[in-house]
Each structure stands twice: as structure tokens, then as C-alpha cells.
Symmetry: C2
Subunit: 453 residues, 2 copies
């Protein structure tokens, strides 16, 4: 009964540097291309959108990038995040597996997103930026940037996809509590928004449109820059504090994962937990199986093409090489809104191409079943996005039971579901479906991918 259920590191053990997987990969990432010229972009091309410090991180090949002291000071409010041993879940599953989860829901915004939001806000403040723009779908990222902006004294403007804006007033209220301005996208505040509204006044919006709006505002104002919550190398870099802490905590538990599991939408929380372990394997250490769990309704890793594509619908962003369903692909409206993105982070895409990770796609009902089982055994109600990782971890634990193997499983519980209870209401009322995507729409979107030599 005095079994250990939580591993807490001292504040002094918050990582002093982020880990850059690029340093250990056998080949470099494909270059980012200018949307007009299709030539590799240079720092100057990105300067209207990002401060130089972040652009330098985006292309860095250094293994370790120091975390500035003011960022670590803010991290200390909730980091090191706890690592839990899921003993009650193990018993409920009657599995010989040992299940550990890293819990990122302890941050003020309730997810892993502040790990990069705080860093981005810091570098922008240092560069004299006054305002940040961004987009948000489910609202996790917009909340995190609103919180980070409040911390460093930056104005924040969030373009929130119209359907979420209407369905999730609590997320908007949280952003406003932190002092951000949150507008529904498409809005009348940008050319991109007005163009969409002229054609489709009743549109529910999309993440691609919201990105176009946020990028447009940043590009047009000298005191304003743009912040992205996933996909880009520097965003994934900041999230590696998750895996670096988890490595130290697994050592406290006298264990090392045989299997590492994360959910993937844009790829940032998955990279955060997985990249430090993948890197350790590339440097000669143990090589756990690493499993990316994505929604079957938006399956970029399992059904997408590894190709150059735009990050947004309006084709204002540079082109990146990634697993993509096509920037014209509109996924059905399932509940894990944070995973509804047509592309996958270029670095996550590359490690899949290199055979360093596995990926699988889960329909949402199976994920909510896993989330509810987790809530009833471990007490935390996961975010719908995190349920994909819970499903993956439970499936691996059940495989251990079938095989009679006591493997060690580590997964990232990237956020709580406190702001997403409508999804659980719908699930428990039997109103959820698995909302498959439209195969012909996917084929059309793939056929429309930009032609890059």
C-alpha cells in the first residue's frame, strides 16, 4: 500500500537545455521552401513572422540549446511535471505491463502547450515585439499563448476557428481572462478573412484559414509577430523538456521504457516525449519502440503523402516536407480538435521515414472508451487529444497481457479535459460517431499537392 505512484523532480532538475534531435539524425531535414520561388528560404524570408532567435533555433544543428533563465523561472511554476505510475490502471487491465505517464496537464493552461508558448513569448519580448498573433482550433494553443503573453507583457490576438469559437465559449473566456483578444475566424479584420466571408458568409472556418489571418496581421505590422503552436522545429524543440524530465524520472523509478507512446496532430507533444528517447537510441543507447497515435479521421502519418505542402489554406506560408493529407483536406468535425491538421511536423515525418517510429490511427469512440477507463482508474479526465495516447498505451498493455510480457510503457498525458466536457457528454449519451473522412476528398486534396521538383 505504500507503493510509489508519482515521481517528482526537484526544481533544480528542470532541464537547462532543450534537446535538438537534428544533431543526431542520420540525415538533415529537407529545406523549407519559399511559397513563391520554391527556393529554400533564408532567415530574412522568415523575419517578418518570427524573431531571429527562433529562426536560428528553427535551423540549428546544435544538440543542446540553452533554456534562458527567465523561461526556466516561468517553467518553475509547474515544472518539473510529475511522472506517474498508473498502478490502478494496471490492476484494472490485469496486465503484467508497467505503465508510466508523464502528466502535462498541471500547467496553468492545462496542457503541454505553455512549454513553447512561454519560450516564444520570451524571445519575442526580447526582440522588442509588442504583439503576437496566432490561430487556435480547440483552444489549447490559444489559451497557452494568452497565458504566456500575460506573463511577459505582450498583447496577444487569437484567431479562433469559428466552429470552436461558437462551441467552446469557456476556452475563449480563459483567453480573455489572461487578457488576450480572441476573434472568430474567418474575421473581417484581414484580407484573407474577408475573402472567405465574401464567398462563404456562413462558413465554420478552418485552421488553415485562421493561420492565413494570423500570418497576414503579423506580416503587415512591424510591432507584431506570429506564433505557431506545433509543426515547426523550434516548437518541437521547446517540448523536449517533457522527455528530458521523463528520462530522469524513469531513472528514479529504476526503469526504462520499452515502448513510448504519444498522440499526434501537429506532432509537438509526441516529439516532446519521444525525441529525447529516440536520440538516446541513435547515440547508442536502448531503442524503445516509439508509437505515434493519430485520429483515424485525420490520418496524416498513416494515410498522408510525404511531400512538400503548404501549412495553410491560403498558401501564405512556406512549403515544408511532411506527411500531408493536402492543405485542401478538411477533416470531419471530431472532438479532438487539437489533432485536426492536414500535415505532420516535418521532423516527426522524417523520423517516420527513417523507420524510427511506428504510427497507428484510432477512431474516436475507442479513444473515449480508453479515456473513461483511465479517468475511473487514475482519476484524471484526459483531453480528447490525449485519449489517443491513452488508447495506444492500453492496447500495448493488453498485448503484454496476451504475451505474458512485463514490458514498460511510457506515454504522454498531454492535457486534461476540463474544458472539453461536452465531448464526454456526447460520448456518454451515445451521440458520438467515428466520423470517417471522405476518401474521394482526400484523393482530391492529395492530387492538388504543389508540384515541387
Amino acid at each position: 500500500m505504500s507503493e510509489t505512484v508519482k515521481y517528482v523532480l526537484d526544481e533544480s532538475r528542470i532541464p537547462k537545455a532543450w534537446y535538438n534531435l537534428v544533431a543526431d539524425l542520420p540525415r538533415p531535414p529537407a529545406p523549407v521552401l519559399h511559397p513563391g520561388t520554391l527556393q529554400p528560404v533564408g532567415p530574412d524570408d522568415l523575419a517578418p513572422l518570427f524573431p531571429m532567435a527562433l529562426i536560428a533555433q528553427e535551423v540549428s544543428t546544435e544538440r543542446e540549446i540553452e533554456i534562458p533563465a527567465p523561461v526556466r523561472t516561468v517553467y518553475r511554476q509547474w515544472r518539473p511535471a510529475p511522472l506517474h505510475r498508473a498502478r490502478r490502471l494496471e490492476r484494472a487491465l490485469d496486465t503484467p505491463a508497467r505503465i508510466f505517464y508523464k502528466y502535462e496537464g498541471v500547467s496553468p493552461a492545462g496542457s503541454h502547450k505553455p512549454n513553447t508558448a512561454v519560450a516564444q513569448a520570451f524571445y519575442n519580448k526580447e526582440a522588442g515585439v509588442r504583439r503576437l498573433t496566432t490561430e487556435t482550433g480547440a483552444g489549447q494553443w490559444g489559451s497557452a499563448l494568452a497565458y504566456a503573453g500575460a506573463t511577459f507583457g505582450l498583447d496577444v490576438q487569437v484567431f479562433m476557428v469559428r466552429v470552436s469559437f461558437d462551441q467552446k465559449p469557456y476556452r475563449k473566456a480563459a483567453m480573455e481572462a489572461w487578457g488576450a483578444r480572441c476573434v472568430a475566424s474567418p474575421s473581417r479584420e484581414t484580407n484573407a478573412g474577408r475573402a472567405v466571408l465574401a464567398e462563404q458568409p456562413d462558413t465554420t472556418g478552418s485552421l488553415g484559414i485562421a493561420i492565413s489571418e494570423a500570418v497576414e496581421v503579423a506580416a503587415q505590422h512591424d510591432d507584431t509577430k506570429y506564433a505557431l503552436g506545433s509543426v515547426l522545429n523550434h516548437v518541437l524543440l521547446h517540448q523536449t523538456v517533457i522527455g528530458l524530465e521523463a528520462m530522469a524520472q524513469m531513472e528514479m523509478a529504476d526503469a526504462y521504457p520499452d515502448i513510448v507512446v504519444g498522440c499526434t496532430g501537429g506532432g509537438s507533444n509526441f516529439a516532446g516525449i519521444a525525441f529525447p528517447f529516440i536520440g538516446a537510441g541513435l547515440r547508442g543507447g536502448a531503442k524503445p519502440r516509439v508509437i505515434a497515435c493519430e485520429p483515424a479521421a485525420c490520418p496524416s502519418l498513416t494515410r498522408g503523402r510525404y511531400a512538400y505542402d503548404f501549412g495553410d489554406t491560403g498558401h501564405l506560408t512556406p512549403l515544408v516536407k511532411m506527411h500531408t493529407l493536402g492543405s485542401g483536406f478538411i477533416p470531419p468535425g471530431f472532438h479532438a480538435g487539437g489533432l485536426r491538421y492536414h500535415g505532420m511536423a516535418p521532423l516527426v515525418s522524417l523520423v517516420q521515414e527513417l523507420g524510427l517510429i511506428e504510427s497507428r490511427a484510432y477512431p474516436q469512440i475507442a479513444c473515449f472508451e480508453a479515456g473513461l477507463q483511465f479517468a475511473r482508474s487514475e482519476g484524471i479526465i484526459p483531453a480528447p487529444e490525449a485519449n489517443h495516447a491513452v488508447r495506444g498505451a492500453i492496447d500495448e498493455a493488453l498485448a503484454c497481457k496476451r504475451d505474458g510480457q512485463a514490458r514498460t510503457i511510457l506515454f504522454n498525458l498531454c492535457g486534461h479535459g476540463n474544458f472539453d466536457m461536452q465531448a464526454y457528454i456526447d460520448f456518454q449519451a451515445g451521440r458520438l460517431t467515428d466520423s470517417p473522412y471522405d476518401e474521394s476528398a482526400l484523393q482530391s486534396a492529395l492530387a492538388a499537392l504543389p508540384k515541387v521538383a
Copy 2:
């Protein structure tokens, strides 16, 4: 920039015993009276509602009561809860005060309530109980008991005040995610509920009615007991882990509070933070000022009478001596639903009578202003209840500024506001009022207090 902002204790420092203030008080609490005979109740009178272990705690005069190992194991999921130094708030206020807050929102249910819910579920499970009934207003307590029931394998039935049931579907969904059954009160499942519905079919319910329903179900079923989330001695006892941890953490910070602040509804979170400090003072240690902050719309400590009263509307519960507004007093519908109770915990009432604490009442708009200032500086959006403590702490910090005194302030941030964002929406839209209570209704309710010799 490397300033300390959080004090985390090792798991081994979770208290091994709860602290019972009764052992150190100069006089014992007044006896609890049977509602029929008006004679002091004995253990047998309470046995239909509570297991013997909790009845023994209710009347114990021992200073320390050991926390069972299985309870400490569950506590370890989130305890020790962090103590934070509110450095950004201090700077925003430009105060010489040092402000510390104990943060109980890290529990799975998001408040301090699981500290007692877990203990109550454990003792009931040990006693062979199969089901617990309870009432909930805002939903914090119902959520906590649902979580605790899932942890120990007990069925939980929650009678949720109709108005909250309708207004807070997310709270209900959380209880159901943990496997509890949540019904609107008044319900058709009890005599008490049916009687109210027969007279007032459209009633919005009240905590007093919901208590009557939960008590009735427990009293009528051998396998079912009742659980209360505040007010009673054993509930306050379980909450003292808050203050005991905070004492150790203040020592880490090389500080001791000059002022301890908590919000009060039934009194449990306030007792949790305050009683260990009051007790230390009674045993010859430093005596901080201790301030209870209650809602001006339901001001039991500042406007209530210290007298015997019932805990519920239906007068099914025993009578306790407490500061009460009268069991017939219906407070206006302000947003801190967890503080809408006509009475104050007998032990909190007694320490006020003994001059060991101060109390003050705050209108809700001033509290939301404080909560928003806190969210923008410290990043955590407080529960509306907790905003009363935030207001009290900020006012003391501003007094320090006026006086030029660098006092040390400790307050309990008893929960986050993730499930209460509608209140912030209303506040930010300017739709909140200070909803004063009806003075003549208060006088009538006081006049109707039971006559006890």
C-alpha cells in the same frame, strides 16, 4: 531571474497524521443535539449515516489522528500540493509584502475537496459500505466524491441542486466520467424531494433540500451511507493536510506567515490552511492574524447568529452550534456556489467566538476583479470561491504598501476555475451584480431558529 517561485515537498513529507485543533482549544465544542430530543447525540444516533471510524473522529480530542496508508497512497497522486511565492503578483501590486499561496487545484477534481472525499471513501469501504450519497451545489464536492468513489470502488449518488444541474452540465459530466450517478434535486427518488416538488414543481432547489434527500436515502438503506463535504469536525480534520504541508513549505522558504487567509462557505478549506497555524499559536508559537473571507451575499460569520441550528432545510440532520443565517435563509444566486450555505462549521464558529480569527465579507465583483488580476499575474484562473481569499490577500498586500510593512501573507488557493468560466464570461461582459441578500428574509430566518435551552 532565478528567484524561487514554488516550494515542493518530497512525497515522504505528506503528513502522516491529521491535526485535530480540538486538542489545543481552551474549551471543547458544544455538543451536537438530536433533532427530535434536543439531547446530545451518541455514536449510535449517527451510525445510520456515517461509519464508526468517522464518528470517532467527529468527537475525538486526540491532537493527531493517523492517516491510513491507503489514503496516503491516493494523496500521493497530487500531494504534497505546491506552495507558490506570488512574485509576479507582488510586482503587479508594487507591495513590500511577501505573498505565498498554497495551491489545491492540482487534485484530479481541481479543488481541496478530495482531501476528505478520499478519506471518507476509504473508511466507508473499510466498513463494508457499498454506496455513498451526497449533495452538491456548485459541483466541486460532488466531483470530488465521484472521483474518490471510483478510486475505492464505491457507488456514488449525488443530489445536485437543480439550478446548478441545469447551469453546469460540465460538472455533471465530470461526475459521470468518474462513474457517479448525478440527479437533479429535488428529485422524485425521495420523500423529501417529492414533497417539495408537490408544492413547487418549478423550484430551482437548494443545498438544504439536497442534503435532506441524500440523508434520507442513506438512512433508508443498510448498504448506503452519507458523506458531507464541509462543516463537520472530521471533514475539517482531513483538510488539515493543507496547513501542515504549508508549514513545512514555509520553513523551506525560511518564512512564517504574519497573516493567513482563506475563503469560507462551510469552512473546510479555511480550516485546512488555518487550524495548524492557530494550533501552533495556542501551543506557544507565533500567532499570525487569521482572516476568513466570506461572500457578502451569504455572510454567516459576519452577520449570522452563533446558535444551534439544523444543517438542512428539511430538518432531518442533528443540530449544531454555529454561526448561522437560519436554515430557512436562501442566499441570492451569486457565482461562488460553493459558499452558498446558511451555516458555518461549528469549529470555525468556535474559533471566531474565541477571538482566534477575524472575518470579513466581500461582494462578488470585487472578488472577480481580484481573481482576474491574479490570473494575469500568476497564470492560474481561480475558482469563484477562491477569489474571496485572493481578494483578502491582495487587500492585505495593499495595506502593507500603505504602511510600508513587508508582512508575509499566506493564502489558500483552494481550486481552479476551469469548470466555472461562465462566471468569468458574465463578469467580463459586465453582467454581474453584487446581488445583496434580502435583509428582512434574513431576519425572518433568524427569528425561526430552533429554541434550544
